[in-house]
Symmetry: none
Subunit: 221 residues, 2 copies
């Protein structure tokens, strides 16, 4: 179980690395964003622990970049600040958990364990229905053993909603609401038709059925 620790305070880094190793993890320690980047480029890690305040920038940028590159490695943020806003910003950036200094070693270990457990559950969370497999982590689908095809965010949201509520008719209005939490002039748009058409091109015609005048159904068998 390999972790990357990004921490510029040598003393803290040293001691953390020590206890992590005691708990059975393999740890690489970086002390700048730059070095962390090169570590990530060469190795695969199960999880990264990032300090936010760093000499050459904020750990947040790093997360942003990784997420854009679709790097799935979960991230736990360490920070000295503990405001509500910071936490929100951190999590919105794409971090998976958040710990404020100072903290007890035990708490870090507990959170790590929880994160890894949750993550491993998520990794294997490719859920399949009627020959269509949806990869939650990677935002991808494959149909009947064809190769994976990655979806855009909207395509993915729609398909996921349909697959989570199969065999039910969902009106276009409903689906629009699902796609865009804030409802506006819903009926004035044919977005649902457009996205259904796209999904059908990936999955085949028959899996998402039209109920004329009523809506769409993802059929589970």
């Amino acid at each position: 179980m390999k972790l990357l620790l990004l921490e510029d305070d040598d003393l803290l880094a040293e001691s953390l690395a020590e206890s992590l190793k005691d708990n059975g993890y393999l740890v690489d320690v970086a002390d700048t964003i730059k070095s962390a980047t090169s570590f990530m480029a060469t190795e695969e890690y199960e999880l990264a622990i990032l300090d936010i305040g760093l000499p050459d920038g904020s750990g947040l940028e790093l997360i942003t970049r990784w997420r854009k590159q679709k790097c799935p490695t979960p991230v736990l943020i360490l920070t000295a600040r503990d405001t509500w806003e910071d936490k929100v910003i951190g999590l919105e950036t794409g971090a998976d958990d958040y710990l404020t200094k100072p903290f007890h070693e035990a708490e870090l270990m507990a959170r790590l364990k929880a994160l890894l457990r949750r993550q491993s559950g998520q990794l294997s969370k490719i859920f399949t229905l009627n020959g269509v497999s949806l990869d939650e982590a990677g935002q991808r689908v494959c149909s009947e053993g064809t190769t994976w095809r990655s979806l855009t965010a909207t395509e993915f949201r729609l398909l996921r909603y349909l697959m989570l509520h199969p065999d039910r008719i969902h009106s276009k209005e409903r689906l629009l609401e699902q796609l865009y939490a804030l409802e506006q002039d819903a009926a004035a748009s044919n977005l649902v038709e457009v996205y259904v058409a796209r999904l059908r091109r990936y999955l085949g015609k028959s899996i998402i059925q039209t109920r004329r005048g009523q809506g769409y159904v993802f059929v589970s068998r």
Copy 2:
């Protein structure tokens, strides 16, 4: 309107049940997963309100199980935790809405109403007469165990009216009025004949009978 409430905190359960009843719902209260399961086995509910943290397991498992059994009852989750991840996990499991404790009664009622409205007509009420099953939600029929055949809006309206008033003779004029609430030039059209013919093609000849000069009858046995 019947609800199932699964909540192990007696006090909360009691008070919730009370206010639900005040709002016009019929409520059954379960305090363990086990009892909830048996409630579900014996009764039909329009909606279930589940607490997640329970003595004998998590409410999430319950949802998972129900969904696997294709049980369509919508579920609202109650939880003490309010992290982004928890919410996602809950909704991904197949819950339909999510409320964190503590909450105002009014909010719960509002959400219930919204959920039931959204869901209404979706819950498969399949009603069977003389071997003909009509699926209200899906606008489908099947006759004597053949596969489902979905109907157009007009076909459905007609069949539904006939099945709701079986063993009675309905004149063509009356049926036309039923189909098109406001139309007058009734006699000038053979719409009823056309649609009866279509329905007979799906259901077999004998179920909708002709009373020459008088009208049509759906025979209930």
